[in-house]
Assembly symmetry: C4
Homo-oligomer: 229 residues x 4
């Protein structure tokens, strides 16, 4: 399979965006060494199926420019690129196949999120920043290992119909989704921050719960009013 001409420009723009977004992962201390990955869906046109751009496997963050990115179809098969795609490619592809509204996926092993994941414990919603972005607690997904669809299925089953754009895969770490890759990166950054702040808060006692109607009001405002229109 080769890349259809009509998707050339869209794929190149996605490569540039995804490469730049990878730089956000070390910037916000979400990854060590070559761990972590960002992908973005390129919607098909002219009868062609969707594709996605993703990081190659085991490559240093210093080398991740747009040309280093690889392109896969939604089954995770390599369409363009000289290196193996990320070993998490199957999970990204599964999410794109089953969640039509998702345009970007991020996976990290960010430390505090991983710590909650290792206990298999959801993060309670005790900060307004968390109500804003996650609309409630951050849920836990099942234990699943690489090799079949089980990681992708765990992500989709946990996040479908859920406000949270983040799931803590048990003993593994977080996956986040968004309408764009940038939104998924933002969710990954805010997830680690709330995972850290709530952890620290609970070390010395029990945080105060936020009432559900306040959570609802905060979530609604943040999704619909915050930022520039």
């Amino acid at each position: 399979m080769t890349l259809p001409d009509c998707l050339r420009a869209a794929v190149d723009e996605a490569k540039t965006r995804v490469a730049a977004l990878h730089a956000e992962l070390p910037r916000w201390d979400l990854v060590v060494w070559t761990a972590g990955n960002v992908s973005e869906r390129v919607r098909g046109t002219g009868g062609h199926d969707d594709l996605f751009v993703i990081k190659p496997s085991g490559v240093s963050y210093d080398e991740l420019d747009a040309d280093a990115m690889v392109v896969c179809d939604l089954d995770g098969k390599l369409v363009e690129g000289s290196r193996n795609p990320s070993s998490d490619t199957a999970a990204h592809g599964y999410v794109y196949r089953h969640m039509a509204e998702v345009g970007g996926v991020v996976h990290t092993h960010s430390t505090y999120a991983a710590a909650w994941s290792a206990r298999g414990e959801e993060i309670p919603c005790v900060l307004t920043m968390m109500a804003d972005e996650f609309g409630g607690p951050v849920p836990v997904g099942p234990f699943a290992i690489i090799g079949d669809d089980s990681i992708g299925r765990g992500i989709v089953e946990t996040l479908s119909g859920h406000r949270s754009p983040a799931v803590l895969m048990q003993n593994h770490g977080p996956f986040t989704i968004g309408k764009t890759a940038k939104a998924a990166v933002k969710a990954a950054v805010l997830l680690e921050e709330v995972a850290r702040a709530v952890h620290i808060s609970r070390q010395l006692g029990e945080p105060v719960a936020i009432e559900q109607d306040a959570i609802d009001a905060l979530y609604d405002r943040y999704q619909n009013v915050y930022g520039q229109r």
Copy 2:
């Protein structure tokens, strides 16, 4: 409403200062992504009311130069600027309307301060650095959400007549005030440091209290002798 000519120079200088001070927030690890904001009052002259300069909403710290700043009146209405003001603008304006001596306001979700906020617990004064800057414990303000005056009112009611330039708004995070925006930024930086050091100290036992007269002596000296005159 447009900006009166007689305030042009003062507003431009404030924009430059406020833009530079925003760079201190990521420098001292007080913010992630686009969270956090600094404002500075521009005192009215020639019959004009006071204004304040503040950060636009949801804009990356990489883009925050002087031209990006927006200007509001004390009711939070946009006076100059092409973007929406910070979603915390109403709270800043409320503080300026009700605390005449305040020339700068800072809001962050800095991690350790947020952790104390989530428990609704004041930070006890067990470090001389804390006595110097805060003159005692850092108090907690009420739970309040965006949408009316309740955040601004909570800040003003907590800090009026209090030595501390910082309040921990419950489940939310800190607001700091100062005679200038720089002083409010300094308070935000020192707040996170003492929130962190006192948290760590309490993890392994109970810190030793500082006697009230020693707190008073430290606070008095630091406010009146420290630094360059």
Copy 3:
């Protein structure tokens, strides 16, 4: 003893690699001041014995270019270089003499690994990242002090036949090994990350154990499939 001509090129290349790898230690916050060291074996040819390249003792990370590196034989005797070799040279040499497959050794006092070392407690395998790289728990080696072979012997006895490329020397800190110096540096970076994440996870409860067959499957895949071939 002087350096045989036939090893000149191999030694120079190793110096360049080892100098560059030293920069990874402060980059990933594994060392303070002049602590920590990386070495790489240069395999002998033409009847000459193996040598290794290592950091000089007590030199700032700012000064560690290829020319600053020193060369030792496997007994730790200086072969080339104007400065004293690292005070951990004897331990590196012992490992090279007794573990033929080892091509690189790293020693740090990275904080969280040192904290587990001070308790003499192995790190349990509760994260998939840990199963990938370490294949199970990270073991503890004996208390041993500089002056004889006891540190080197403790490393070799603990790691021989063990999946883990890392050992926590009691009250001291970690040593890691690899087929190359780069692989040993990677193990040192990932060790500190899992030491930190598992520590944080255990602060608020007991992490969920990963079943042995899942650990085996993860380890096998990561060692044989991950990355670029």
Copy 4:
């Protein structure tokens, strides 16, 4: 009082060194905002008394070049410089007057050291790095506030005849001493590291003690063999 000509060169060299050493404090995360200070003694010649070079009070780390440094006599009186000396100048001077072998003094509020200070608890010697540099536990000094000799006296009484170059002043933070300012900065950097590692170790149980004769052997070797001669 003016600077004697015969001390001109020595003072200028000390200013350059002290300015450069101030940059190490933020580099190793030992200070926030304008907190912390380094001084170095300039030994008198030709019948002149000793002087010391120190940081001015309340000045940003970005502005601390050699010209910004100020010079004081051992009573803390300003001898050269256009700004007020550090508010900790009296404590530095007291140390130089009473400990003839001390050539450099450093004060910080580094977070983990401050946390132990707030509990008034010495740091137990459970890491070989700590035995190397501190030769045993790091002791606590008395509670004392600025305004008379009590801080300086507390430092001198605690450290005289003690192996440790660091003291944790209760509710305040650490002071470190050394034969040179660089040695005192090194002690401040290593102190924060061991304060952090031992804190973290104790969060999940009791660290293993190191036998006294092993501590003695490590301390002796590090003071006499480590580094370049």
